[in-house]
Amino acid sequence: MLQYLARRSAYMLLILLLSSVGVFYSLRFAPGDPSGVAVSAFAREEVREEYRRRSGLDQPVYKQYFVYMGNLFQGDLGKSLITGKGMGELLKYHGKNSLILGFAALGLSYLIAVPLGVLAAWRRNTWIDQASMGGAVIGMGVPNFWLALLLVWLFSLQLGLLPSAGCCDGKHLILPAVVLAAEGTAVTLRMVRASMLEQLGQDFVRTLRAKGLPERRILGRHVLRNALIPVISLTGLRLGWIVGYALIVETIFRWPGVGYLLVDSVLRRDYPTAQFFSLLLVFFVVSANWLADIAYGLANPRIRRA
């Protein structure tokens, strides 16, 4: 177990390091630079050169990288080149919105997927099972942006019940959360069902049944717990994928979360913001995976004992 733990932690640090380099270089590789935004595109070249000099942008990239990392470790996270806001402030505003959206989506997906998956496995091959599986397959197939369009068309344009974009109250949260949750719900649903079925096919279940235990107790006490183990390790991955998908959903619904900020800052060449939030998201995903791996390691006796 310890060896497993150490290995996974080492990987995490290595990823973070490599990602920081990758993000840094790729941003600077892109055309355009912040001087056009921070100063003015119409300013004379000398003025923009002056700006670049002052911000250290004329240094070779590796030097800029070390300066940036140095600052990072000393707690200086940088300021947006466009608005001058500090990363902390941006994180509070955008991070809060992303967390709200992410947890709403995650919660929604589990709330639907787990009970439905258990039900589908329990009532295997009945209409409930067929319907859920059918729904799940469709849910995995419909691209989230198209789902977004359909929902907006239905609920905003035709019914006028929900707003089509923006933030920040419950009404604005519903559509983005549903879209973000859709694919995850489908996957989790299938996962839960498959996992339940696998458990139900085990010998110990037959034994319990032979002993005369009511089906409900078998399900609730024994089977469910085992079946949910892979689902738990799934959560880490799910968080990672939500982060990825959130970029698109936030952009479509103009929900000002971290994903939206990231896409926006990459496009505007707002280096400090793009770098910080890229690294942040990477860190988040890697940590989620790491935690999931730990949980999986704990749950899987083969690894735990090793």
Binding site: R8, Y11, L14, I15, L18, V23, S26, L27, F29, A30, P31, R124, N125, V137, I138, M140, G141, V142, P143, N144, F145, W146, L149, W153, L157, E183, V187, T188, R190, M191, A194, S195, L197, E198, L200, G201, P230, S233, G236, L237, R238, G240, W241, V243, G244, Y245, L247, I248, I252, L262, V263, V266, L267, A274, S278, L281, V282, V285, V286, N289
Partner: protein, 304 residues
């Protein structure tokens, strides 16, 4: 995406069920494919789209970039335009045919590359173990959990929008998934008697890997493959939708949906037709994957 969690469960089950591994499951698998309805439907759809991707554009009634501003916004089943025209008067059917080619091309292309690279890496890591494994597996683990879209945004942010960036981004991540599975299977297989036996007989590593290990590994890889193609298709469409993928006039299916979204209330067909197309394509691929998985996994199959 949908691939990963399935894969974990699948892996565990596969490893346990390899007691009954025999050298030529592939042939048996093909026979069973024909009997499984899900897989059949899925492969039919997938094959259909593959066919369309290859020959479709030859039958396109118009050039996909040909505009005719006075013929804009024709409804489907108009004369000369089976699926109507878009806001610039371009024939939707022709654009769709090329768009399918692009989506399928990107999907299958990236997956094929990822499959080859991943299989090689996974095989080498699982077979040789030791330091080779540590290094290779290290790479795999690092890349495997990354959110694809995040990478895509960064890569495309650097390179500028376009299909190249999408292909790079998708390929960058997906190979790791294959490597992981293949490695896991190889790790289990290498202890089996027929492998040990072959070694004892003095057969070379390459021979063992290609004749014994590869055929047993392929089924799972193929199952994952079908999911991954679906993933690639959706990611490409999504990126094109937010403007980071294929650029005008290339009619990526995702971009067609994107262009039509400004006209939802005026002429929804511009978005609806390509939207339905993506759903069908991905559906077909997912069904195929499910069917393959059901065939290749005896335990689950028993439960059905």
């Amino acid at each position: 995406m949908s691939a990963f969690p399935e894969e974990r469960a699948l892996w565990e089950q596969r490893v346990a069920s390899l007691e009954a591994a025999s050298p030529s499951r592939l042939g048996e698998a093909w026979r069973q494919l024909a009997r499984n309805k899900l897989a059949l439907t899925g492969s039919a759809i997938a094959a259909f789209f593959l066919l369309v991707a290859i020959v479709g554009p030859f039958f396109a009634p118009h050039d996909y970039a040909e505009q005719s501003l006075s013929d804009a916004h024709f409804l489907p089943l108009s004369e000369g335009h089976l699926l109507g025209t878009d806001q610039l008067g371009r024939d939707t059917l022709s654009r769709l045919l090329t768009g399918i080619r692009i989506s399928v091309g990107v999907g299958f292309g990236t997956t094929l590359i990822a499959l080859v690279v991943g299989t090689i890496v996974g095989m080498a890591a699982g077979y040789y173990r030791g330091r080779v494994d540590t290094v290779l597996n290290g790479f795999v683990e690092m890349v495997w959990g990354f959110p694809l879209i995040l990478i895509a945004v960064i890569i495309i942010g650097a390179m500028g929008p376009g299909l190249t960036g999408v292909v790079l981004a998708v390929g960058f991540i997906n190979w790791a998934g294959f490597a992981r599975i293949v490695r896991g299977e190889v790790l289990a297989l290498r202890e089996k008697e027929f492998v040990q036996g072959a070694k004892a007989l003095g057969k070379g590593d390459f021979f063992i890997m290609s004749r014994h290990l590869l055929p047993n590994v392929m089924p799972s890889a193929l199952v994952m493959g079908s999911y991954y193609v679906a993933v690639a298709v959706i990611v490409e469409a999504g990126l094109s939708f937010i403007g980071m993928g294929a650029q005008a006039p290339l009619p990526s299916v995702g971009q067609m949906v994107a262009e039509g979204r400004n006209y939802l209330l005026y002429n929804h067909w511009i978005s609806t037709i390509p939207g339905i197309t993506i759903v069908l394509l991905v559906l077909g691929l997912n069904l195929l994957g499910d069917g393959l998985r059901d065939i290749l996994d005896p335990r689950l199959k028993r439960e059905r």
